[in-house]
Amino acid sequence: MTEWNGRIMTTNTREAANEEWLESLIIELRLQGVNGTRIGDAIASAREFLVDSGAVAEDAFGSPKQYAAELNLPVEPDADQGGRGALVRGAIGMLGMFSVVQAVIPLVYGETLTVIAPVLAIMVVAFIAIACLPRLMPAMARMRKRSVFVTFLLGAALGLVTTVPGVLFVVWAGDRMALSLPALPVFIVGVVCLIAPALWGQLRHSITDDPIVVPGVTPSARSARRTRLFLVVINWLLVPVTVALCAVALLMDSFSR
């Protein structure tokens, strides 16, 4: 048993807390742009020390963020480019989401898509706001320890809060026509813009896969799977959000007809 922060920890609780700390350290080092081999080395070193000393990770190393900064490991040269790529993908994905949400009602009822000026303005504002999503990635990644599900819900809530006003405005001001477009092409272009960046992100991640290589261990740990699952969820986040928004738009439209 170990005493930490005024409480007695059993071996199991300590090991669980230490594993959680090590997972957070992986995220911090990933956010810094450190490659998988160096991360594997840092994790194995820290784990070895924790096993040998029987210490609680937070006590022995400080917070994962602080320790990652103090390690000062070399960063991959294209880490910044990856961030910019994510920004572009986020922006294109947002454009796709708005197009699909705008086009779904006219498409279902065989009408022409009408886009009014205020909706365009709202789209631009929301487009800029959510295109900055990659900037929020570090904060979202750090929330990950609360659980993938909670993080997903928070992300979806953020998307809804930002875009639901636009959908409501469309329903309310449906006949104030500013621009008339055929619904089907807009919907198709929207779907492509929505899917392509996520697919690109997924393939890019697979091509430039940088697994965490723990010395002497085959990289098949549960933590690696959870991290990968989290990245997949974030990558495809806009797709379920779009589906949810389309459902809301159709439901509200059916009430107003």
Binding site: D41, A42, A44, S45, A46, R47, E48, F49, L50, V51, D52, S53, A55, D59, A60, F61, G62, Q66, Y67, E70, L71, N72, L73, P74, V214, P215, G216, V217
Partner: protein, 124 residues
């Protein structure tokens, strides 16, 4: 016996050299270095202090790393001084002795100049 707590400034200044000294005895691993330093009276050296230092030494080429994978047991990262590390250790030891000698010489000096502020200069 309660371990002596040294000034963190002193520890920061001396820890690198003392870690090199521990490594000069032969290949060893993280916790063994911390335990050796504690045994020598430096108090508890935390992983968060030790490993960033070891990482810097590794980047500088002063230490070589050898992961020794045990049969079912935890892997150990064995560290040993490279030739460059050994030269660095010798150079730092000489410099440290020189520095501490200067500090002792100053502390033991009997001809300390008066540190009292001059007074009454305007009366002469």
């Amino acid at each position: 016996m309660t371990a002596k707590q040294w000034s963190s400034d002193w520890m920061r200044a001396a820890l690198g050299l003392c870690v090199l000294r521990t490594l000069a005895a032969g290949p060893t691993y993280g916790y063994a270095i911390a335990a050796a330093l504690e045994e020598s009276g430096f108090g508890q050296v935390k992983g968060g202090t030790l490993y960033p230092l070891l990482t810097r030494f590794e980047t500088a080429g002063w230490i070589a790393v050898d992961w020794r994978v045990g049969a079912g047991g935890p892997e150990r990262k064995y560290l040993s001084l490279t030739d460059a590390g050994r030269r660095e250790f010798e150079a730092q030891t000489i410099a440290w002795r020189d520095f501490t000698g200067t500090v002792f010489a100053h502390l033991d000096s009997i001809d300390l100049p008066s540190t009292a502020a001059p007074k009454g200069t305007d009366e002469s």
